[in-house]
Structure formats: structure tokens, C-alpha cells
Amino acid sequence: MMNEREVSQPAAPQAQSQPSGPSNALIKLVDFSAYYGNLEVLKHINLSIDEKRITVFMGPSGCGKSTLVRTLNRMNDGVPGFRTHGQILLEGQDIYAPEVDPVLLKTRVGMVFQKPNPFPISIYDNVAFGPRIHKLTKSKVELDALVAESLQKAALWDEVKDRLGKSAWGLSGGQQQRLCIARALAVKPEVLLMDEPASALDPGSTSKVEELMVELKEHYTVVLVTHNMQQAARVGTNVAFLYKGDLVEFGPASDVFENPKSPLTEKYIRGIL
């Protein structure tokens, strides 16, 4: 896939370390920059997201972590003035190439949002929404099975199996967020992007969602945005620290938290940034 956009000169070399381990890089960002109009919000990012691992994007408010995660499924496309330089390769294919269909991309890269956003329809219909619009199943029986499977994967099945027809808005916050996870999983994506999925939840629900993330990485590649460092240390395989649009440091969680290479990272970890 030829990228026809101009690739600008890279800035000063950044601290980046490729994590070692038996996983492949599923997504590679190659000198990727993003702009809102003239404002450069992501600056020459180079990083790899490993398959079936949890990659964490971390950093203070305004560092660009949410923007970055949204570029991975092209959710920023609709924003006026948004443009990109560089490439994001999903299995070697640039997702910003003109011939790529952003709608299809979103079936490969799913997303869960910070505030749970279930649709005002039944629990069943919420999970079935994606499969229905993409016609993933051929019969009601298949759809029932897919809905059940997705709810089980999201650790919600036992709590809702007797009330699938009830409105999703009747669930608690933690349940709603797991429903949103089930809904995203029903489309069978390869990657699941989670933008601070637990920050609106109480501690009990938060730990449930964290346990869920660790289970999910067995089958899906997870990218997690969080400002909660303890959460990042608990569940993250690889951690990327961003500051004002720059990728300051990237590596295995243990390296980043215990032996940070950059003084900025160290300041952030110690809470003095």
C-alpha cells in the first residue's frame, strides 16, 4: 500500500525500546503525526502494538493518548480539520490509505468508551446490533448463540441471562460497561481499544473490568488508555508514556515503571509532573 502523503523529516530521536517476547507486532505506527488544523497533537510517533498483549497509553491530561487511540480505528475522521502524516500499519496495511474503508476497519478494531454508552434498547438488541448490521449470522439461533458467547466473554452473562429483553439502561454502571464490551466483542474484532473504560466506575466494577481485560488478551489485542498508573502496572504488558504529543518512552511495563529511561517518565510515575 503506497502512502501518498508526504512523510516529514523525523524530529530528534525518541526514547523507544521494542519489547522482547514471542508476540508479533499487529499494529505499527511509523512516524505518525496528527493535526487539528495547524495544531500538531501527535508528533512523529513510532511504536508497535503486539498481538494478544495489553498495550497501555499513559500520560497527563492533554498528552494526546485519547487522540492516539482514536486514530487506530479512524474515529477522528469526522473531526473538522483533522489530518495525519505517516502510517499506521495493521498487519502491514496502512489504515489511512485512500482505498481502505473506514467502516470495515471498525469491524477489525473495536472500541469501548470512557462513559458507558449502551443504546436505549434491550440488552439482547444491544449486543446483536453489530452482528445484525453486518449480517454476521444467518439465523436467529446463530445470533442467540453469538449474543450469549459475547456476554459470557464480557463476564456479564450470568447476571443478565434471564432478562435479555429488558432495557440496557436499567443496568448498573459497571454492568453497562461490560455490556458495551460484549457489544464490541460481538463483531469479532481483532483489536479492542479501551479509552479509560473504568474511570467512570466504582472500585468494585473497576476491578471486574480489569480482570476482564486480562482474560480478553488471550484472544484479542487490547490497547488501553488510562491515567491510573496502578491500573497500567497491574494489567499492562507494554506501556507507552506520552507527553504533549510526543512519545517519551515505550517498553515493557516492568522496565517503564521500575527503570524509566526518561526523567519526564520518572516525574510522572512519582506524581510530580
Binding site: 467502516v103 471498525k106 462513559k115 436505549p120 446490533f129 432495557s167
Partner: protein, 300 residues
């Protein structure tokens, strides 16, 4: 602080026992009662004439009501308003068929597809102005345009179009407002699942916005049922059923009310009362159906 001040502070009366505060509290209660009473009086002042009016039309209308009177026409052996009921139904159906789809599509466009620039501002302004134009003026314009220029003649179609123009801004604006009320988070959730914008609108947004849209539709239908002047200009009035959409006049309830009330024939006057009663009943049923429907949809 001096000891005197400290002593004074310790023995001072608490705020809630302070005579000034107590007096103010009593005054507040009295004021509250007076204003409350005035509000109730205003409501009664409005409801009394309404009740009286409903009673009068029910009484006079029910005096002459019968199946025969509800069918037939003023010139049949048992004079009735059947043709007027049919005419009103035809006009409502025609105008609804034009204004409702156009209004909803227009509202969807404004809320979801327009870029918010000067064109959409102008469009919105034009719709608001249209809503403020007196319906008699719209009727006259349609008379010139459709009855004369396009040679429809006095016809159901010309009247239907005139009514549709009256109705359109209401459906248009309420649809846009109802759709804008759908939370962005819901739409984002759908897009993130790989939904196209049209699917998102058809399967989620319209469903969520339906109560608001229905309110606009019912408002518009209520308005179309109550129009007289534009219909007189475009459909004239007839005592028989129309034979075609063009060059064929028809009767309608508001026409009966207007034209027959001043008639010399006493029976015509009674038909006028009957038509009023029937029209009130139709509007009442419409509103009841609407409320039931909205309640069911709002159970989401």
C-alpha cells in the same frame, strides 16, 4: 477581640429565632399563598370558558347527531356532514403525505448532514419565517400558483399542497431539535461498531428521537385540521365528494363551520354545530392516541 464582643456573640439569638427573620418567614408564607392562589385562579379562568364551550358544542351537536347525519351531505335527504368528514380526511392525508416525509427528511438533513454553515442557517431562518406567515397568505399564494397558474383549478391537490406548506415548518424544526437531542455518545457507540451514518440514523437515532418527531407531526396535523382560509382559496367548498384530485371541489369540516353558521337555513346552523363537535372529537382522539403512543415509545 474584646471581651464584650465575645460575650455579646455568645448570648445573641440564633438566626432562625431572630425577630426580623421570623417576620420575613411569615411574610414569605403569605406571599406564597397569594401567588399560588392567583395561579389557580388563572387556570380556572382559562378552563371555565373552555369547559363552557365544550359543553355547548357537545349539547347542540349531540342534539342532531345520528349515523345518517355523519354520512351523506348537506344536500342529501337527511342533511349531513359526511362529505365534509371525507373531505377533511382526504386533505389531512394529502397534506400529511407531503409535509411529514419532507419535514422529517429535512430535519434529519439539518441535524446530521449539514455543515452548519450559512446555508443551513438561512434554511432554518426561512422555515421559521414560513411558520409565521399567516395561513391566509399562503392560501392566496397557492391559489395563484396552483389553482390559476398551473391550472389545477379548485381542487383537493391544491388545498393539500397549501396545507402541507403550512405544516412543513413544524415537522421540520421539531425533527431537527429531536434528533439533536440524541446524545453524541450513542452515535459514537454505533459508529465504533462499524455502522454507516445512514444505518445509525435509521436504526438508532430516529428511534430515540421518535417521541419528539411524533410531537411535531401531531402538532402539524392539529394545525392542518384547524385551517379554513387557505382551503377556501384553494378548494372552494362543495356539498359533494370530489371526483378527482384536479378541478374538483370538496367539502371539509372547517368550511361547514364557517359557511353554515351564518346561513339563513336553521338546519345548516345545526350542521355547523355538529361539525364543530365532530372536529373537537377528532382533535381529542388524536391527542389521546398521541399520548398513549408517546408513553409506549418513551418506555425505552
Amino acid at each position: 477581640m474584646s471581651e464584650d464582643l465575645v460575650r455579646a456573640a455568645a448570648t445573641a439569638t440564633p438566626t432562625w429565632k431572630h425577630p426580623g427573620v421570623v417576620a420575613n418567614h411569615r411574610l414569605r408564607k403569605v406571599r406564597s399563598l397569594i401567588v399560588g392562589g392567583l395561579c389557580v385562579a388563572c387556570v380556572v379562568a382559562i378552563l371555565l370558558p373552555l369547559g363552557d364551550m365544550l359543553y355547548m358544542f357537545a349539547y347542540r351537536g349531540l342534539q342532531v347527531i345520528s349515523i345518517a347525519r355523519l354520512m351523506g351531505s348537506p344536500i342529501s335527504s337527511t342533511p349531513g356532514i359526511g362529505n365534509a368528514i371525507v373531505g377533511t380526511a382526504i386533505l389531512t392525508a394529502l397534506s400529511g403525505a407531503i409535509a411529514i416525509p419532507l419535514g422529517i427528511l429535512g430535519g434529519v438533513y439539518m441535524a446530521e448532514f449539514s455543515s452548519g454553515g450559512r446555508f443551513s442557517e438561512a434554511l432554518r431562518f426561512a422555515a421559521d419565517v414560513l411558520a409565521g406567515v399567516p395561513s391566509i397568505v399562503l392560501g392566496y399564494v397557492c391559489f395563484l400558483a396552483f389553482v390559476i397558474y398551473l391550472n389545477f383549478g379548485y381542487s383537493a391537490l391544491a388545498a393539500g399542497i397549501a396545507l402541507a406548506i403550512v405544516m412543513f415548518p413544524y415537522v421540520f424544526r421539531t425533527t431537527e431539535i429531536a434528533i439533536r437531542r440524541v446524545p453524541e455518545s450513542i452515535k459514537e457507540g454505533a459508529i465504533a461498531l462499524g455502522s454507516t451514518k445512514t444505518t445509525m440514523i435509521n436504526k438508532l437515532v430516529l428511534r430515540f428521537a421518535l417521541p419528539g418527531i411524533m410531537t411535531g407531526v401531531l402538532l402539524a396535523l392539529g394545525i392542518s385540521l384547524s385551517e379554513t382560509a387557505p382551503l377556501l382559496y384553494t378548494a372552494n367548498f362543495a356539498n359533494y365528494n370530489p371526483t378527482s384530485l384536479f378541478h374538483s371541489q370538496l367539502g371539509y369540516l372547517t368550511g361547514v363551520i364557517y359557511l353554515f353558521y351564518t346561513s339563513n337555513l336553521p338546519f345548516d346552523v345545526q350542521l355547523s354545530y355538529l361539525a364543530t363537535f365532530v372536529l373537537i372529537m377528532i382533535v381529542l382522539v388524536l391527542n389521546i392516541v398521541a399520548r398513549i403512543g408517546l408513553k409506549r415509545f418513551s418506555k425505552i
